[in-house]
């Protein structure tokens, strides 16, 4: 295998706030050109990790290198290479859409003519040209998210940090963001993505890190994780007590879960096994579907709700 360039490397990375451990002694690597997804329940430590990467928060302990530079002493150089699209809206409400981009370019020392060119190009791509001269207040949530994404690209970053980039977006805007992520991946931009949408992670990410309570509890490609933890197919049907024992007989090593009035069976057998079972047994509202990342996520992090 070709040895790949490590762009981000964390060793024993820890962040504590007043006795609360947000990130607990984690190790991870991100390679050049990769799209890595950080998935985890609220409060798992995703955003804290992202914030340490762009020097917003100093680590309490451990080592974190970005493009070979230390977050403890070389923040300015690191930040010049990174584009950040944070979770919350921190667009500048004192300026118009266009001026938001040109003022932000100035923070990166991008000359005015070049800044204007880049701002116009971003507005065009993100379909915000019509809103060029309106104040931020007049934008919808989706438009604000797109503008935040556009702003993160102004310095033509090597590394892009996307913290929940599609939260609150309609499907059209979500696809626009996905298209841009794919486009950037082709240009070898390294992307770190946090999201609560498993379909998004499954579509965009080469590798997933599942974090919970400040620890990385699992990692791998989406397909690897699905195969490893939940198999390939899931059988779902309305709960009926009589069906359970024949089901257990036919699929002795399967994981059978009851969720309210539905039953989910995660297969440990090849495709077609469920169809054969259904020929002999009558079940209500049956559905056979491919196993997905959400199944993995819920299996690993549980179904309990988390406080923010």
């Amino acid at each position: 295998m070709v040895s790949r360039e490590v762009l981000i490397e964390a060793k024993g990375l820890t962040k504590k706030y007043d006795g609360f451990i947000a990130v607990d002694n984690i190790d991870f690597k991100v390679f050049k050109g990769e799209c890595v997804g950080f998935l985890g329940p609220n409060g798992a430590g995703k955003t804290t990790t992202v914030r340490m990467i762009y020097c917003f928060l100093p680590p309490t302990k451990g080592e974190l290198k970005v493009a070979g530079l230390s977050v403890r002493s070389q923040c300015r150089e690191i930040k010049a290479k990174i584009g950040v699209a944070p979770q919350e809206d921190n667009l500048d409400p004192d300026f118009t859409v266009f001026k938001n981009l040109t003022v932000y370019s100035r923070y990166f020392d991008i000359p005015k003519a070049e800044a204007t060119k880049r701002a116009n190009a971003q507005l065009k791509f993100f379909q915000l040209e019509e809103k060029r001269d309106v104040p931020i207040m007049a934008l919808s949530t989706g438009m604000k998210r797109r503008l935040i994404f556009a702003r993160a690209l102004l310095n033509e970053p090597q590394i892009l940090l996307l913290d929940e980039p599609t939260t609150g977006l309609d499907p059209q805007a979500r696809h626009l963001v996905w298209d841009e992520v794919r486009h950037l991946k082709k240009q070898q931009v390294t992307i770190i993505l946090t999201t609560h949408y498993m379909d998004e992670a499954q579509i965009l990410c080469d590798r997933i890190l599942i974090v919970d309570k400040g620890k990385i509890i699992e990692e791998g490609s989406p397909l690897e994780l699905i195969k490893k933890h939940v198999g390939e197919e899931v059988l779902e049907f309305d709960y009926d007590e009589k069906t359970l024992s024949p089901l257990k007989e036919s699929f002795p090593n399967s994981n059978i879960e009851r969720l309210g009035d539905r039953v989910q069976v995660f297969a440990d057998q090849p495709h077609g096994a469920f169809e054969n079972f259904l020929k002999e047994h009558k079940l209500q509202n049956v559905m056979i579907r491919n196993a997905n990342l959400e199944d993995v996520f819920l299996k690993l992090t549980g179904r309990g709700l988390r406080a923010e």
Partner: protein
């Protein structure tokens, strides 16, 4: 080898590392200011005129000469000093807090090559600029009324910038510890408002008991700006403790210099602590 690098919070007086990038932050605020110049310009023009009319011409008519000049000559330079104080104090409390807390403008800027220290320093320099603008406007107003009598008045913008930087820095220390925006009512009503009236502005310090005179000279920053603006605009400087007026102006300049550096460094470190932990 890996060291046990436990992070310490910044010492309150470590020297901040700053670069030309502070002007990028300054420029952001300047751009907003020029966009909203109408609402920024007019109020600062009206306030000194009202003080001048009410106290200078109105009340002043009943007041005998003060230090060999009509009362209004005593008052006018103090109005310039008050403009210096108000300009940066309100900019770096309420306005900076809004940018920091509600608009998250600082968060957005520190994701770029600009550091937290530079963001805060840029805010402080902008506060000083607001003071300079306001003081210059008031200077214009009092000169129209013929109340400027020394060519040294040309030093007012410089004095306003230094004095403004001092009040900006003091204000930013409050901002660094403010839990919410209402908190600023404390310094506004307990620190700024009393100073408007008690720092040798509307009546001479020398009419107060000597303990109060010492207190005003040691604790109230506005007193020193008043002394200096009086010195350069041509109103007579009060002979506090019977000292020579030139010496008093000299002492005030030194006091302003030392206190400005002290609070400038402290403000940046306190804000850094607030924003990075």
């Amino acid at each position: 080898m890996s060291q046990p690098n436990i992070r310490k919070s910044p010492a309150p007086f470590s020297i901040p590392k700053l670069s030309y990038r502070v002007w990028r932050v300054w420029r952001r605020n300047f751009d907003v200011f020029t966009k909203t110049i109408k609402v920024n310009f007019l109020p600062s023009l009206f306030e000194p005129i009202i003080y001048l009319v009410a106290f200078g011409f109105g009340l002043g008519g009943f007041i005998p000469n003060m230090f060999d000049q009509p009362y209004i000559y005593f008052l006018a330079p103090a109005l310039v000093a008050i403009a210096v104080m108000n300009g940066s104090f309100f900019e770096c409390t309420f306005a900076s807090f809004v940018r920091m807390y509600f608009q998250k403008t600082f968060d957005a800027i520190v994701a770029t090559p600009i550091s937290v220290e530079e963001v805060v320093a840029g805010e402080l320099l902008w506060g000083a600029t607001r003071s300079t603008i306001n003081a210059t406007i008031v200077l214009g107003v009092i000169s129209i009324f013929g109340l400027v009598s020394s060519p040294l008045f040309l030093l007012v913008p410089l004095i306003a910038f230094v004095g403004g930087l001092m009040f900006a820095s003091i204000a930013m220390c409050f901002t660094a510890v403010a839990p919410n925006i209402d908190f600023f009512n404390y310094p506004a009503f307990l620190f700024i408002t009393p100073m408007i009236f008690l720092a040798g502005t509307f009546f001479p310090l020398t009419s107060l008991p000597s303990v109060a005179q010492i207190g005003a000279m040691v604790i109230l920053p506005l007193t020193h700006i008043v002394n200096v603006t009086r010195g350069v605009i041509g109103g007579n400087v009060e002979p506090i403790f019977g000292l020579d007026p030139a010496l008093i102006v000299g002492l005030s300049v030194v006091w302003l210099g030392v206190v400005t550096v002290f609070f400038f460094v402290l403000a940046i470190n306190l804000m850094k602590k607030r924003l990075t932990t």
